[in-house]
Symmetry: C2
Subunit: 333 residues, 2 copies
DNA sequence: CCCGTATTTGCAAGCGCTTGCAACACTCTT
DNA sequence: AAGAGTGTTGCAAGCGCTTGCAAATACGGG
């Protein structure tokens, strides 16, 4: 026995002495209503506390204004700031975000997309995990837009947003070279998502071009604690690295803390570190980490403006630059 | 010319050779359908890729399954982890979260609630800001549930979830006493939300009971950078505090960094610090901050289980314990 | 084999909204 | 004064679903 105390257009119409259609048109931008009618409708609506029922509207309009954000580990700094940017942009475009958490099982991205279909979302934006091909197709076939952020794998009809990871990695390598580093390492998580792997490969191949070698370790999720473990593995090698490029900032933070507290290394004197994401903590003075900025606002812009296009040219791909932020974790600069 | 390529119950019915009602009932738990019919319906639905249209369903059911999360600064660690906990619980209760960001203007919480009404959300959970009384009433009158987390101010019919902030503050004070501290300070933001103020007052009054004084500074939002500023203000006082209770962990991190790097103080030898929220960073070894845990999972449980109650006893109030996590930023322990 | 009871099924109305269509009311022109 | 043109309005059908009701069917006991 829920509310049901919602005011309907009928009631507003009665009070204003007009037809239901008139009130409907009043709240439909661009519809033909005289000023006088509009005034009376607005007044009645105000008095009664009427709000257009978006659910019913979506039924006929065939457009719900709902956009699903599908994400896991959303308490991670980078994810959180991306979500923030996205919700803001979506709201400016008068769309609304539905948040679906996919922390749990493996098929839950598919599950999430089914939800998206059930709520007739206009679009889904996927920040984590990779949906099954069949379900993506179903989404796209039923007219849903789909945006994949840092997911890489191509999906017909979807918009792909990625960064120039390899290029960034290369710049990281050059920065280390300039700082006079000689033993290079790459600290990666073992989840192996395309963007993390691209950073690793970019870094390795940049080194290879100079005939140099890179020690690589992969461990755990992309989190602080993994960084600590990676430090143990990398900094105990016989020829201790003096330059570590971390697949992301969280790993870098863990690695730096371990390097300083357990191995008594000074940063950047004994060890140079570069990260990726430019999370807020990287700018904290304990870390002062040189890193690459994820252009969250640009990403959100690209995603939302593509969604806003009337009949989007099916799919596409955007590549964005990750800018290097110089801080104190690398000598020179 | 959006999709419209959605399969409707009619089509499934035709293919399965049954009536529309049969397919509707198949997807309505507890409705009366024979096994045989159900089987055929499911099969047809599967083949066609049918998903119940939740929008249409909500229209008649008068219950949408949508819960609005109204939040600002959602990229802040504590907020992000609360949102994560909430979305997870909501999904388990087969509800879905709509995220509304209220970073922008001041009336935007009201704006957000209007959205919630338009989408006929079953409930709104407010994590930031304080809606106008009139709009809260409208929500509640139209049968919407409302949960206020750490907002404190009473609203008829709403569920209030708060922590024992004063009690926690008192425990912080005692911890400092035990550590042998003598000059107490409280570092607060100047946003003055009830929970922050309760911590401040709790701390002061605990000190007062011992006939002791507390230096209080308030500055900026509850963020790292404010902590840096607060350090400048507090640690330059003639009788330098040797114990600072920070209104939240973000402030504490800023304050600790400034204390160490600018004032060359050792923690906890020269300065003891306690924070509040237990964000992930507090456990990082650079901070190793003694702090109070926000019981995010408990909070989410309370909120969601209250929402799940069929006809909730109008409103109420839950107070939860904030547990003290001992780490290295306080001597002894 | 028949009847009472229990289960299943289809019909049709209704949820709140949009929108094409036709009717209507104006204003201008000639 | 009639007709063309423009703008506004109401009617009614339809969006996809649920659900009360009554008809139909199945089941079990005598």
């Amino acid at each position: 026995m829920r509310g049901k105390i919602f005011i309907s257009a009928k009631e507003v119409a009665d009070r204003a002495g007009v037809s239901r259609s008139a009130v409907s048109r009043t709240f439909t931008p661009g519809a033909s209503v005289s000023d006088e009618t509009r005034r009376r409708v607005i007044e009645a609506a105000e008095a009664l506390g009427y709000h257009v029922n978006h659910l019913a509207r979506s039924l006929t309009r065939n457009e719900s204004g709902i956009v699903c954000l599908i994400v896991s580990e959303l308490d991670t700094p980078y994810r959180a700031s991306l979500i923030r940017a996205l919700t803001r942009r979506l709201q400016s475009a008068s769309k609304i975000a539905m948040l679906i958490n996919t922390d749990r099982s493996d098929d839950s991205v598919d599950q999430a997309l089914r939800q998206a279909i059930s709520y007739r979302a206009d679009a889904s934006i996927i920040l984590s995990g990779m949906p099954d091909k069949s379900i993506t197709e179903r989404c796209i076939n039923s007219g849903q837009r789909m945006v994949l952020i840092n997911r890489d794998e191509r999906r017909d009809g979807a918009l792909l947003i990625n960064l120039y990871d390899r290029e960034a990695a290369k710049r990281a390598f050059i920065a280390f070279l300039r700082a006079g580093c000689q033993n290079f390492a790459f600290a990666n998580s073992d989840v192996g998502t395309p963007s993390l792997m691209a950073r690793e490969e970019g870094f390795r191949s940049a080194a290879l071009e100079q005939g140099l070698d890179v020690k690589v370790e992969r461990f755990g999720p992309t989190r602080y604690q993994s960084g600590v473990v990676l430090a143990q593995r990398l900094l105990t090698r016989e020829k201790r690295p003096d330059a570590v490029f971390c697949a992301n900032d969280l790993l870098a933070c863990g690695l730096m803390d371990a390097a300083r507290n357990q191995f008594k290394l000074r940063i950047p004197e004994d060890l140079c570190v570069i990260g990726f994401d430019d999370i807020e903590q990287s700018s904290w003075s304990s870390y002062d980490l040189t890193t690459f900025t994820q252009p969250v606002d640009r990403i959100a812009d690209e995603a939302v403006s593509w969604l806003a296009q009337p009949m989007a040219t099916s799919g596409g791909s955007r590549k964005l630059e990750a800018e290097l932020v110089w801080r104190g974790s690398v000598r020179g600069g």
